[in-house]
Symmetry: C2
Subunit: 370 residues, 2 copies
């Protein structure tokens, strides 16, 4: 049966961009999101109901041909209610293995993707074992529900681990070795319903206070490293049996790649693909979910993205910079909240760097991180 | 005052694509179209009312900050009712000078753009004068309301002119010299509210039974001819004082360019810009109408577009061809009706030609022209 109507759990900006990619393919999106002002409402019907409203979830599922998500922290019971009625792509395995940082790291290791040393911290007794296994310079993170740098503490000596765990409310946590990285990179990739995988060029990411500020494609790394990063993304897609788009975030450290985490959905570090790649990550996700052939992930020229966080510059100032395309999400600005992004392309890296400098200048004046 | 809400007269596929380009810029579109199933309804609010409903038009105008159109045959009275309340971009001059083929040709000639010999045919007496001025090989067209090859007849001898005019119902007509053209080309260009002009690469167009079937960018013509074509597009934008996007359709004949007609709006021969250019013709139109700086019209690699007419191939067959992006308009298929298009890009012209051959094969199987 051919897919015509796709249910999307979550209606944030990722949903908005999925919906805009779906319309030209004559696919209809229905978004489930408790927020009345969900940004995706401009790109499809919006079911405004609570995550624990199992009746509303059942009606939502019955209305569509297949379900996907743009928000991975959908409560397990809600997801199960939907999955009992309709196929969910990517599958629950992708969510289960990525919503818990310990299981995620174990999965990566088992899939042959290098990760830094890590250990679980669930009890006071775990702490000494963790320090012995990982070392005294590390990062303590809650096992679940962290994002944009929330729910984590850097540890610089053995004595700092216990207070860090207290600061995280003694939630079940993971203690990971600190990676003295040279660059943060990520790979966005999509796997189709037929198992075919497509991989976007590796991008270099720059975070500010834990929030992605800038992505540049392609990342300025050797082709040896780039091929390794792309291969790891394929191993993750295949290991998960993922259907749809995901992002693998990695470090480049001492000439090697170390995987950090998986986002089992379209990802902020892939927003540049809307203008910069021959097919966007959003379109490829919708193609995968609808069982269609995937599109070309190549980029004809260098591209970059800047996030607009907590405040929006005037569009006229952004668009006056050549090669730019802006996307405002229609969200009320609030410190630390992603309210838009700007893509920029240029025929050469040198020109891209100059445009990017102008763009960063405009963005930083209006960004409010905290 | 900054523009937030844009009224669009007409809600066809051009409106749909304008609306999809507007959403990322946080612009809201309201479409006025009498058809309940207007394709643009997925990209903004749809006011479903008749063209002669002056009250509905007034309410529509009052609701928005500025008005534009995707359909140039809006009745004059309806347009006047809107223009009395809100700025309309492009202005009425662009419509007046292009809705009558005689005034259009006179405008082109006066703007310094070469046109073929032409003459008005309004009475039987005009016919001899027209034959003397234009010659016996020509095309007779109604002065207004013709599109997609409708309302025109080819004349191959003096004796054929009178029957041709009868066939057009003796409507006020224009008799133009037949141009033995080598290629049909067009230029899409946008002029901003501040008078700045941007011009897309010249495209080569292929028509089948009067309907555009294929566009290829850039057109395989010399840079001398390409520069002339681009210059003519600028002269037209400036001569009209146009704000927004338009297309200038031209012939390449005997090593020169001859202008054929102006479409005072986004145009089918510019659909390739959605994937192929750094900024689409639709986004640039919305930027112009909203008073924003215009975007880069360059194309990083060769691109083409194929129209889907009267029937839709399965998406899976189209998207299996590398480099393709499809856009289905959500219209019921009917012979001769444009129901979608496919864009295709490739790193080289040679590869583009091969992909295009595959794509044309798929499209022709399903296209129904009449």
């Amino acid at each position: 049966m051919s897919v015509r109507k796709i249910g999307i759990l979550g209606g944030g900006q990722l949903g908005q961009m999925l919906g805009l990619a779906a319309i030209p393919l004559d696919l209809e999106c229905v978004f489930y999101d408790p927020a009345p002002d969900a940004p995706a409402r401009v790109a499809g019907r919006h079911v405004c109901a609570a995550w624990d409203d199992l009746d509303a979830l059942a009606r939502f599922a019955d209305e569509v041909d297949v379900v996907t998500f743009e928000f991975e922290n959908v409560p397990t019971k809600s997801l199960a209610a939907v999955a009992a009625r309709r196929a969910v792509h990517p599958g629950l395995r992708s969510l289960e293995l990525t919503c818990d940082r310990i299981r995620e790291k174990e999965f990566l290791r088992d899939a042959g993707v290098p990760v830094q040393p890590f250990a679980a911290v669930s009890t006071t007794a775990d702490m000494d074992l963790a320090l012995a296994a990982v070392g005294t310079h590390g990062v303590l993170k809650t096992r679940s529900l962290g994002y944009d740098g929330k729910g984590q503490r850097v540890v610089r000596s053995a004595a700092e681990l216990a207070p860090a765990w207290d600061a995280l409310g003694r939630a079940p946590s993971i203690y990971e070795a600190f990676v003295p990285f040279d660059r943060e990179v990520s790979v966005v990739a999509t796997r189709g319903a037929d198992g075919a995988c497509v991989v976007y060029p590796v991008v270099e990411n720059l975070h500010t206070q834990g929030i992605l500020f800038r992505s540049i494609a392609p990342a300025p790394i050797s082709d040896l490293l780039a091929h390794a990063a792309e291969r790891y993304a394929r191993q993750v897609l295949e290991g998960l049996g993922h259907i749809g788009t995901l992002a693998l975030e990695m470090f480049v450290a001492d000439g090697t790649i170390i995987a950090n985490e998986i986002a089992p959905r379209v990802h902020n570090s892939g927003h540049w693909t809307i203008q910069g790649a021959r097919t966007s990550q959003f379109e490829n996700h919708m193609r995968a979910v609808a069982g269609l052939p995937l599109g070309d992930t190549g980029a004809p020229e260098p591209a970059a993205m800047i996030n607009l966080i907590g405040g929006l510059p005037p569009l006229s100032e952004i668009l006056a910079i050549p090669g730019t395309n802006a996307q405002f999400y229609g969200k009320a600005p609030r410190a630390g909240r992603k309210v838009g992004h700007v893509n920029v392309v240029a025929p050469t890296r040198e020109l891209l760097a100059m445009r990017l400098a102008d763009l960063e200048h405009v963005a930083r004046i209006h960004n409010r991180l905290a």
